[in-house]
């Protein structure tokens, strides 16, 4: 069996589950990319993927039960009843005292969910907490982490430079983004989606050219906090590598040429175009990152 180092399960059962998760939209961008690559490389997985898609499509086309007007009216009438005496009105109709334990169970389930979302109201039951998001997050994190360790293990050096605090912060942000459940908050290869999203979040909309034809695909964006201020971050992908591009709005309007500020095992380049101060960071080699910076600057003009 081919051994992959993309952090996904290598057993057939595990990878099948990941394909289901991909079809169900449950994967973060990094894991989805990894699964898509596996599918592209393996006809058996591609067939499985096609089967799942076809099945999901067929199930979603099944006729759904009609909500008749009479039925809807009956349910709406329940809502009209006084909230203090719903059972007294309804119980003679249903006529089953044994419905009471069910009632308590039903309402209790609702309250447990409510407690889960509002911890201040009541202590969530340990059971709900245990089966909350923990398992999946841990799984997603382990997938991304393994991918990072596999692709950049030799460069995985602890970052201990204090020379430039902003650079250090940005390196930390980039590293954290690689470890997080998703390196991007808005997934889109369309700059017309990413820019308005950033604009709506923080009122800043940096140039976001898609450089896919140059081999640097825009895959999304997120908001970072640098020096206490929210700043837009664009995420590009080049082969196996993610590039984070921080664009900090500039007041002074100074224009500076790209400067190497690499540290901590990451390549990092900093420059300014008068409107924004840019930081590009990646675990790619410097020449490749320089290539990205040159293409970005050319396209962003």
């Amino acid at each position: 069996m081919t051994v992959h180092d993309d952090g996904l399960p290598n057993d057939p059962e595990g990878i099948r589950l990941m394909i289901h998760a991909l079809v169900d939209g449950e994967l973060d961008a990094a894991a989805a990319l990894a699964v898509e690559r596996r599918i592209a490389a393996d006809p058996a997985l591609a067939a499985e993927h096609a089967r799942i898609l076809a099945l999901q499509g067929a199930v979603s086309r099944l006729p759904r039960p009609d909500v008749s007007d009479a039925f809807r009216a009956r349910i709406a009438a329940i809502g009209m009843a006084s909230s203090q005496q719903p059972m007294q009105e309804q119980e003679p109709q249903r006529g089953a005292p044994s419905a009471l334990p069910g009632l308590i169970a039903g309402a209790g389930a609702g309250q447990r969910r409510a407690a889960d979302t509002r911890p201040s109201q009541a202590r969530p039951s340990p059971r709900v907490r245990r089966f909350g998001s923990f398992d999946w997050r841990a799984m997603a994190a382990s997938i991304v982490m393994t991918a990072v360790l596999a692709s950049g293990a030799t460069q995985w050096v602890m970052f201990n430079s204090a020379s430039d605090s902003i650079a250090a912060e940005i390196a930390g942000d980039h590293r954290r983004s690689l470890l997080a459940a998703s390196p991007i908050d808005i997934v889109s290869s369309d700059r017309h989606t990413v820019k308005p999203w950033l604009d709506a979040r923080i009122g800043v909309s940096p140039p976001a050219p898609d450089l896919a034809t140059d081999g640097f695909a825009l895959i999304g964006g997120r908001v970072e906090v640098v020096s206490g201020k929210p700043v837009p971050a664009l995420v590009y992908r080049h082969r196996e590598h993610l590039i984070t591009l921080i664009a900090e709005p500039q007041q002074g309007g100074r224009i500076t040429e790209p400067k190497d500020v690499s540290s901590g095992g990451f390549s990092m380049v900093h420059w300014s175009d008068g409107a924004f101060s840019y930081w590009a960071i990646s675990d790619m080699e410097r020449p490749e990152l320089d290539d990205f910076v040159a293409r970005f600057r050319k396209a962003a003009v």
Binding site: P12, E13, L17, H20, A21, D24, E26, A44, A47, E48, R51, I52, L53, A54, L55, G57, A58, V59, S60, R61, L62, R64, P65, V67, F71, R72, R74, I75, A76, I78, G79, A81, S83, Q84, P86, M87, R94, S98, A99, G102, L103, A105, G106, A107, G108, A109, G110, Q111, R113, A114, T117, R118, Q121, R127, V128, F131, G132, D135, W136, M139
Partner: protein
């Protein structure tokens, strides 16, 4: 909270999801008439518990009540047909057995699945073992996320994933067998 506010919340939280509630109840009980009874019971319970709803996914909240109500209803109305729910040890064995009988490579062509007719697909879903059917319906018909389903069924997400994969695998091989 005032009665009026509670009534409004009921209208906002429950009424938009009646179609989903009926679909779930229909697949759990097996027929549309029983589904209406179950959903009506569930809505009475939802109404009684509406004060406890505090945000989150309203569809998942209502469907949790529908599911509980459906099992209560079935245990009352057809005790013999009721299969044991919640015996996870048995389910895992069942899952393993089904997994073993499903070689990955031999799945049918996707085009064959896409062409399958409604009746065949409905019969195949109805024939699924209950834990698999329930998971498939919650995901592919009700559109809940893995996380919502895991909270509702009180099982780990990994179990949701494996049940869903088994359910789809069984359906695919069933549909692939059609003439």
């Amino acid at each position: 909270m005032s009665d009026r506010a509670l009534a409004e919340r009921f209208n906002e939280v429950v009424l938009p999801h009646l179609g989903d509630a009926l679909a779930l109840a229909r697949w759990l009980t097996g027929n549309a008439a029983d589904a209406e009874d179950v959903v009506q019971d569930a809505c009475i319970k939802a109404h009684a518990g509406i004060a406890g709803y505090a945000g989150g996914n309203p569809r998942a909240w209502l469907l949790t009540i529908v599911r509980n109500t459906a099992y209560t209803w079935m245990s009352r109305n057809r005790p013999r047909g009721m299969m044991a729910v919640g015996d996870l040890g048995d389910l895992d064995e069942m899952a393993a057995a089904h997994g073993a009988s499903l070689p990955d490579e031999d799945g049918p062509e996707a085009s064959l699945i896409a062409k399958s007719d409604t009746a065949a697909l409905e019969a195949a879903i109805a024939a699924l073992p209950q834990p698999f059917r329930e998971t498939l319906v919650l995901r592919d018909i009700n559109g809940l996320s893995y996380r919502d389903i895991s909270v509702m069924l009180a099982v780990p997400i990994g179990t949701v994933m494996s049940r869903l994969a088994r359910a789809r695998g069984l359906l695919a091989s069933e549909l692939g067998r059609a003439p």
